[in-house]
Amino acid sequence: MSVKYTKDHEWVKIDGDTVTVGITAYAAEQLGDVVFVELPDVGKTFDQGDEMAVVESVKAASEVYAPVSGEVVAANSNLEGEPEKVNESADTDGWFVKLKLTDKSQLDDLMDEAAYAAHIS
């Protein structure tokens, strides 16, 4: 299972034609304490770049954009009660949604880990 990144600080974990999406630890650190995450309903579809979710930190609200086009097949309901998971484990338990891909080729445009590390350095 490979992981790709967007310049907007999302990670995309690829598992066949489904991806899990979250925000990177770097992004979570920049946002500060996350107090609420607004996730899309299962069944909703997004085009790449659409506003998909909103992260509210103590500081401000930030939009999360769909890194690829797809249909929401799962949303992390644990974040409702424990939004701090986004800060504590951004890369794992703090995942946002799972998307069923509509265009797998979009993954090719995302960054790999080394490219993302360079992006934030």
Binding site: D8, F36, E38, V54, K59
Partner: protein, 372 residues
């Protein structure tokens, strides 16, 4: 998601504590023309630490001044009764325009015995405030800007123990008292007040001793440095207005529910700026007024519209997550008929109306020290 990293600007001013903030690992942010610490370890942790123990804030960006001479000339511009302000006392007051709109809110105090008044005004308004005061008191009084001093605030339930260990006599004051004290040979101007709803002190210190004094206060295990982020969430939970957001030149003390800041003799004499209009509005009741609100889920932020039964009835002026409350809190101006505690309202966030409730402030009980 756009990166929200600190934004360093070259033309921003620095307070005398800038190097200390950087050394302490602060994330800096431009605020009112100054490069200020937004946070050190994190807003939530800093907020909670201030409520549980004690937090040290750099508020050196605020304007300090010493006014001497004819006090009636200054009094005409504000809402306090200066003849009733005794040496060692401080008052919260308002600088109004001729229509009774709020130019600024400020602290006026008498820490120097009978040698005039000490003024502390907001950072963003200090230039305009001091120009306004100086021009309107010209020939009668003298306004001396104090630019060689830093201003720090020590706030929280352990503030008195921590500060009392350094300046025992200062910790004997009660809420809204003030005075000049000695700390290691420096004159410090101290008031027992603040902007968090907690007990604490605001302390004016010589700029060239600021870092040394701040380090000394921070050496106490109970004290941690606190940034502007937590300062905002602390004041919001305590129902304290932020100038330029929760009131401005377009709002009167009636609408801002700050009539308590107009001294009774001033109301009777109708001799504060805009008094006729303000007292008429007070008698007639204003069309809109400032209220608190609470809600679940995502916090409403400044600018969000408030609706009821499909009609727009108001706008959010401050909003965010209240760590002590454990949920979103905010202030809004809404039509008077709905400005009643426990009224159900809706706030529009990202195009969706979300349920909220008009809620009595403060959201967190203030814990000022008023004596044993």
């Amino acid at each position: 998601m756009p990166a929200t990293g600190p934004e360093f600007m070259t033309d921003t001013l620095q307070t005398p504590l800038f190097d200390l903030h950087v050394e302490l690992g602060a994330k800096m942010t431009p605020f009112a023309g100054y490069d200020m610490p937004l946070q050190y370890q994190g807003i939530m942790a800093e907020h909670n630490h201030t409520r549980d123990a004690a937090g040290l804030f750099d508020v050196s960006h605020m304007g300090q001044a010493h006014y001497t001479g004819d006090e009636a000339a200054l009094e005409k511009l504000i809402t306090a009764d200066l003849s009733a302000l005794k040496p060692g006392e401080q008052k919260y007051t308002l600088l109004l325009n001729d229509e009774g709109g709020i130019r600024d809110d400020l602290m006026v105090s008498r820490p120097f015995g009978d040698d005039g008044l000490f003024l502390v005004v907001n950072a963003a308004t200090k230039g305009a405030d001091f120009a306004h005061i100086a021009s309107n008191t010209a020939g009668k009084g003298e306004l001396r800007l104090i630019e060689d001093r830093a201003l720090i605030a020590l706030q929280g339930p352990k503030a008195a123990d921590a500060f009392g260990a350094l300046v025992p006599s200062a910790a004997k004051m009660i809420f809204m008292q003030c005075g000049v004290f000695d700390l290691d040979g420096s004159d410090i101007y101290v008031s027992r007040s603040g902007y968090t709803g907690e007990d604490g002190f605001e302390i004016s210190i010589p700029a060239d001793k600021a870092a040394e004094i701040a380090r000394k206060i921070l050496a106490d295990d109970r004290v941690k440095p606190i940034g502007l982020g937590a300062r905002d969430s602390l004041r919001l939970e305590s129902g304290l207005c932020l100038y330029g957001h929760d009131m401005n030149e377009e709002t009167t003390p009636v609408e801002a529910t700050l009539m308590w800041a107009i001294a009774k003799p001033r109301r009777e004499r109708l001799d504060f700026p805009g008094a006729a209009r303000v007292m008429q509005m007070f008698a007639d009741k204003p069309a809109r007024k400032r209220v608190g609100f609470t809600m679940a889920g995502a916090p409403a932020r400044e600018g969000a519209e408030i609706v009821k039964d499909g009609e727009i009835i108001g706008v959010v002026t401050s909003g965010g997550f209240g760590p002590t409350v454990g949920g979103p809190v905010g202030m809004a101006y809404i039509d008077r008929e709905h400005a009643v505690a426990d009224t159900d309202i809706e706030i529009v966030l990202r195009g969706k109306a979300r349920p909220a409730k008009v809620t009595k402030m403060p959201f967190v009980q203030q814990r000022y020290y008023r004596g044993e």
